[in-house]
Amino acid sequence: MQLTLEFGGGLELLCDSKKIHNVNIEQHNGEDKLIMKDLLAWVRTNLIKERPEMFMKGNTVRPGVLVLVNDCDWELNGQLNTSLEDKDVVVFISTLQGG
């Protein structure tokens, strides 16, 4: 599944200072379905190069990190259960830095 992942609000520093990542995710369960919970785990393993605790807490994002799927708040789509489709754009923004 091809996805575009964007990191903002300082989170890009955790991924080699790169804001936009075009990724291809292989699914292990052989299905076409991917949910946010799986994506987060994948991101932590494959994209986060340092201080993973700034991005995730347990199996969800750290409090203060906003998640948008195709410019829509993931709170509207079930958070971790939000289903993802090919060519989706997922944005992670930290609200914690600066003022």
Partner: protein, 253 residues
């Protein structure tokens, strides 16, 4: 109805306000599921109400917006500028920035403020620790080390804002402190037992007995909403943490 687990059919919700467009945000303040346009309207009109109800401004006032280039001050400059035009507040607005002289942090965020000056058409004044005090934070840290530098910096910045404000001959300074900041301050003062500060820290306007009062139009605005607003409106802001406090007792764990 909120989900009972399992996958969600996406994009199915309509805005609860206009009932026409797709909902894009779930507002933490009200839990409303709202589309972008209605979100902008709600966000801006709530701030307008705060300004009116607390009588923050008078027509003709010169107002300096404490601008760091960060999300709160950028959104504040944008929204205040817009409300000033839309509702004829009659204010003369300025961007006021403080350059502490922290390499790799402040120089980058100041670039953002310079862009904001052009983007919003607001005059900008930058006051630097070097000019005011003869020291940059980098130089101060070289002498005192990395302990307590946040305390020094906070005190210096406060005064620098006052000095900048008087150079601009403004009647008021506004800062982007939001509801989350104020909540943190309340908790901090509670934990420290600082009763004096606790009683003052939730005031929307402070320093009325001094030369230049300060106010916080974002006092009731949620940080998440500020970030959402900035994201959807594609506002230009800088967001990397200052690297100096990493070793100090002030660094949040």
């Amino acid at each position: 109805m909120e989900g009972e687990g399992g996958e969600r059919k996406r994009g199915a919700r309509l805005c609860c306000v206009c009932k026409k467009s797709r909902a894009s945000v779930k507002r933490p303040k009200t839990l409303e599921q709202i589309c972008r346009e209605c979100f902008y309207d709600a966000f801006e009109s709530e701030i307008h109400q705060v300004i009116l109800e607390n009588q923050l401004f008078s027509p003709g006032e010169r107002v300096a917006i404490g601008a760091s280039g960060g999300k709160d001050s950028t959104v504040l400059a944008y929204v205040l500028s817009k409300l000033n035009r839309l509702h004829n507040y009659g204010l003369h607005l300025f961007l006021l920035s403080v350059d502490e002289g922290i390499t790799g942090y402040r120089d980058d965020s100041l670039e953002t403020v310079h862009r904001n000056q052009i983007q919003y058409g607001l005059p900008l004044k930058v006051v630097s620790y070097k000019d005011l005090y003869g020291w940059t934070m980098d130089e101060i840290v070289r002498v005192i080390g990395l302990k307590n530098n946040c305390t020094f910096c906070g005190v210096f910045r406060r005064q620098a804002l006052d000095r900048g404000a008087s150079l601009l001959k403004v009647d008021k300074v506004v800062t982007g402190h939001n509801a989350d900041d104020i909540a943190e301050t309340v908790l901090l003062n509670l934990l420290r037992g600082d009763v004096a500060r606790l009683s003052r820290c939730t005031s929307i306007t402070t320093g009325e007995d001094g030369p230049i009062p300060r106010c916080k139009p974002f006092k009731y605005t949620y940080e998440k909403e500020i970030v959402m607003y900035a994201y959807f409106k594609k506002l230009d802001y800088f967001s990397t943490e200052c690297n100096l406090p990493f070793f100090s007792s002030y660094f949040p764990l």
